[in-house]
C-alpha cells in the first residue's frame, strides 16, 4: 500500500500547484509507532508529510465538511462511502471536493497487536502483507491478514466508490458468504445473555465521546447527550445513561453507517463500539437491500418512502 504514497504526493503537489484546491486532507506520520494524524496540506512543499499505510484507520470524511473553498481528500473505500453520504445529506457539495481514491488492503487492529507484547511497542513497519513490530523485549513478524481491524475483515468495498482520480490500480474485492458472522453470534444469545453482553461491552466506557466525534455521521450541531434544555440523558457514569448514549447513537446511524470502524479506532478503551451498529447494518441489508454510501442519487432507507416497503403499516 505504501507504493501508492508516491502517486498521492504527486497528485497532491500538482493540485496545489495549479491552485485547483485550497488544501489536501490526508494522513501524516505520527509521533509514536502505529499512529498517524490527519493533516491539511496547503503548499506543494509540504506534500512529503503525507503518508499512507495500515495505521490510517480514521475516516477523513470527518474532516471534509466545513472547509472553505475546494479541497482534495485522500479516500479509502470507507472514506469514499462517507463522502457519498455527506453529499446525499448535504454536508458537502460534490464540486467542492476532489477525491484522490486509494484502494485499501485493510487497516490493522492496534489493540490486538499491542496485546501480543508485555511492554510497549517501540517500532512498527510493514512490507506488503508482513508487519514487523518491536518492543524492548521482542520483535514479532506478523501476517497483516491476521491482525486486520474487525471492519476491514468483513469489508467488501476496499476500492473507493467515488473518486476523481485513483492513486493505484483497484484491489480485488472479497465476496463473503456471510458478511455478518459476528452479529449472528450475538443474535444467537438468549435475552439475558445478550443484555449481559452489551453491559459488559460498555462497562469501561469513560464517555469521552471519541467514538461519536471520530464518526463522520455525527455532525449534529448539538448532540442529544449535550442538550441541556431539555436534558435527555444524565451525564455521569450511571450505567443506564452510558448505555442510553451508545444505543441512541447507534440508532441514529441506522442505514447510514458504512462500518468504517473509526469509532473503534478512536476509542481509548478499545471498546468494539461496532457491535451496536453492525446489527443495524445487517438489518439494512436484509430488509432493504441497502448498503450505505454507494450511490449519490439514493437516500438512505429510513429517510425515503418506497411502495415496496416490507412493512405493511406504512402503506
Amino acid at each position: 500500500m505504501d507504493t501508492c504514497i508516491k502517486k498521492i504526493r504527486e497528485l497532491s503537489a500538482d493540485l496545489l500547484e495549479k491552485g485547483e484546491v485550497e488544501k489536501v486532507i490526508g494522513f501524516a506520520k505520527g509521533t509514536i509507532p502505529m499512529a498517524t494524524s490527519p493533516i491539511a496540506i496547503q503548499s506543494k512543499q509540504d506534500v512529503e508529510k503525507l503518508v499512507f499505510n495500515s495505521t490510517c484507520g480514521l475516516n477523513l470524511a470527518n474532516y471534509a465538511s466545513g472547509q472553505k473553498g475546494k479541497i482534495a481528500i485522500i479516500a479509502k473505500g470507507c472514506d469514499s462511502r462517507n463522502i457519498v453520504t455527506h453529499i446525499v445529506e448535504n454536508q458537502i457539495q460534490r464540486d467542492q471536493i476532489y477525491i484522490i481514491g486509494v484502494p485499501c488492503s485493510g487497516m490493522v487492529d492496534k489493540h490486538k497487536i499491542a496485546k501480543l507484547f508485555e511492554d510497549e511497542i517501540i517500532d512498527f513497519s510493514e512490507d506488503g502483507d508482513t508487519l514487523i513490530v518491536s518492543s524492548f523485549l521482542k520483535t514479532l513478524t506478523l501476517k497483516k491478514q491476521d491482525y486486520l481491524k474487525g471492519n476491514c475483515l468483513y469489508c467488501t468495498h476496499k476500492n473507493p466508490v467515488l473518486h476523481d482520480v485513483m492513486a493505484a490500480d483497484p484491489v480485488e474485492e472479497q465476496v463473503l458468504e456471510n458478511p455478518f458472522p459476528d452479529v449472528d453470534l450475538i443474535e444467537a444469545l438468549d435475552l439475558d445473555a445478550k443484555w449481559q453482553y452489551f453491559e459488559n461491552l460498555t462497562k469501561n466506557c469513560i464517555r469521552c465521546y471519541a467514538c461519536r466525534n471520530a464518526c463522520p455521521l455525527c455532525y449534529c450541531p448539538t448532540c442529544f447527550v449535550d442538550e441541556s434544555s431539555p436534558q435527555w440523558v444524565g451525564k455521569g457514569q450511571n450505567k443506564t445513561d452510558v448505555n442510553t448514549f451508545h444505543f441512541l447513537r447507534a440508532f441514529h446511524c441506522a442505514g447510514r453507517c458504512t462500518d468504517c470502524g473509526a469509532c473503534v479506532e478512536a476509542c481509548p478503551m478499545g471498546i468494539n463500539v461496532r457491535d451496536f451498529t453492525r446489527k443495524l447494518n445487517k438489518d439494512s441489508l436484509e430488509l432493504f437491500g441497502w448498503e450505505a454510501g454507494l450511490d449519490v442519487t439514493k437516500r438512505p432507507p429510513l429517510d425515503a418512502y418506497s411502495p415496496d416497503d416490507p412493512d405493511d403499516f406504512i402503506k
Binding site: T31, I206, A210, D226, K235, G236
Partner: protein, 355 residues
C-alpha cells in the same frame, strides 16, 4: 529513613492482612486493559503491569461522585435541604501506583486544597489515602517524567516507595502514613539504611538512563500569555483534533468538573462529574453565548492551561507529569511534547506587530 525488606512470597499475605483496616486499590486488567481500581477481597493487585490506560486520580476524584442529597418528600421536616452525601472515608491504600501518578496527586491537591478553598470531598479522600508506589525499573518509551520534576523513583506524594528487586521488594517508608500501612501488613524486616539507599540510588539512575523522551519548558515562564495566545501555530495543532475528552480524562492532572442535579422519585442528588475543556458545553453560557465556541479555542485552552496559566499561577512547573497517556490515547496523535516544544521555542516576530 526506614527501609523494609518484603519477600514476594509474603506480599499477598501481608496486604491481605491490611484489608481488615484498609480499602485496597491497585492495578487490575480486564479485556479493555489495565486500570487502577478498587480491589475486591479476592483480587490481588497486578504489580507487574507496564501501563494503565487511566491514572489513579479517580480513587480520590471519581468520574462521577455523589456530593449532596436531599429528600423531596414534603412530609419530612428537612425536605429539599441539601446535605452532604455519606461517602466512606475509612483508610484506603493504593498499591503499585506509578511515582509520576503520585506526583500528579500533589498537583491536584494544589487545586483542591488552597488557602482560600478546601474541597471537602477531595480533602477527606486525600487524608484517608496511603500511596504505595512502585519504582519503574524499565520506563516505557513515552515516559518523559524526568523532564518535569518527577521520575521513575520520585518520592513526591508517596507514603512508601517500593523497589522491585527480583524475589523481594525493598520498601522505603517515607511518612507516618506509610509506617502505619507497613505495620498493618505486618512487614517489619528492617533493612540497613545506608545500603538500601545506595541500592535505591543505583536503581533510580539506571531507570532514568532508560528515559529517552524529554520536553523543554525553560522558556515558557518568560513569555507573555498574549504572545502565546496569539501565536500562529494553534490552527495547525488543532486541525486533526476531534474534540473528544480522551486527553483530559486519561490525564492524571486534569481536575475540571461539572455539577449535575438529578432526581429520582422523592430523592434528589447532586453529582460532580469529570468535565473536559474539549467539549463546547464546557463554556456555553445560559444565554447560549460560548466564549470558546471553536475547536481551535478549546485546544489552545487545554495547552495554555497546562503549560502556561498553571505555571504562572503556582510557579511549580507545568501541569503535566510526563506519563505519556494522552500521547498514546489521543485518537489523532496530538502530542503534548511537540506542542510544549512549539510553545517553548516560539519567538514572536517583531516585523509583524499586532494591532
Amino acid at each position: 529513613m526506614k527501609f523494609i525488606t518484603i519477600d514476594k512470597n509474603d506480599w499477598t499475605q501481608g496486604i491481605d492482612k491490611s484489608r481488615d483496616t484498609y480499602q485496597l486499590f491497585g492495578p487490575v486488567t480486564d479485556e479493555n486493559g489495565c486500570q487502577i481500581k478498587k480491589l475486591d477481597t479476592n483480587v490481588q493487585p497486578e504489580m507487574e503491569y507496564h501501563e494503565s490506560i487511566m491514572s489513579a486520580k479517580s480513587i480520590l476524584f471519581p468520574q462521577t461522585e455523589k456530593i449532596l442529597h436531599a429528600s423531596l418528600n414534603e412530609s419530612i421536616e428537612d425536605h429539599h435541604i441539601m446535605k452532604r452525601a455519606e461517602n466512606s472515608y475509612t483508610p484506603r491504600a493504593v498499591l503499585g501506583i506509578r511515582p509520576y501518578d503520585a506526583k500528579a496527586m500533589e498537583i491536584l491537591n494544589l487545586n483542591f486544597d488552597t488557602k482560600e478553598f478546601s474541597d471537602p470531598y477531595w480533602c477527606d479522600a486525600y487524608e484517608a489515602t496511603t500511596f504505595i508506589g512502585l519504582g519503574i525499573n524499565k520506563p516505557g518509551p513515552f515516559d518523559f517524567s524526568t523532564s518535569l520534576g518527577t521520575g521513575p523513583f520520585c518520592e513526591d506524594g508517596l507514603d512508601i516507595l517500593l523497589a522491585d528487586i527480583d524475589d523481594k521488594y525493598l520498601a522505603k517508608v517515607l511518612t507516618p502514613k506509610g509506617e502505619a500501612y507497613s505495620s498493618a501488613c505486618g512487614f517489619d524486616d528492617t533493612a540497613d539504611e545506608k545500603e538500601s539507599q545506595v541500592l535505591f540510588d543505583i536503581l533510580r539512575k539506571e531507570a532514568e538512563k532508560n528515559i529517552t523522551s524529554h520536553v523543554e519548558t525553560d522558556k515558557l515562564k518568560e513569555k507573555t500569555i498574549l504572545e502565546l495566545h496569539e501565536a500562529p501555530f494553534w490552527d495547525d495543532i488543532a486541525f486533526s483534533c476531534i474534540n473528544c475528552g480522551t486527553c483530559t480524562y486519561v490525564c492524571p492532572t486534569c481536575w475540571c468538573f461539572d455539577i449535575q442535579d438529578e432526581t429520582k422519585q422523592k430523592e434528589a442528588a447532586r453529582y460532580r462529574n469529570w468535565d473536559t475543556c474539549m467539549s463546547p458545553l464546557f463554556t456555553r453560557h445560559a444565554t447560549g453565548h460560548n466564549p470558546r465556541a471553536s475547536k481551535v479555542q478549546r485546544v489552545r485552552q487545554r495547552f495554555m492551561h497546562k503549560l502556561k496559566y498553571f505555571l504562572d499561577k503556582y510557579d511549580q512547573g507545568i501541569m503535566c507529569v510526563g506519563c505519556g497517556r494522552c500521547v498514546k490515547s489521543c485518537p489523532v496523535n496530538i502530542d503534548i511534547r511537540e506542542v510544549c516544544l512549539t510553545m517553548n521555542n516560539f519567538e514572536q516576530t517583531t516585523s509583524e506587530p499586532k494591532e
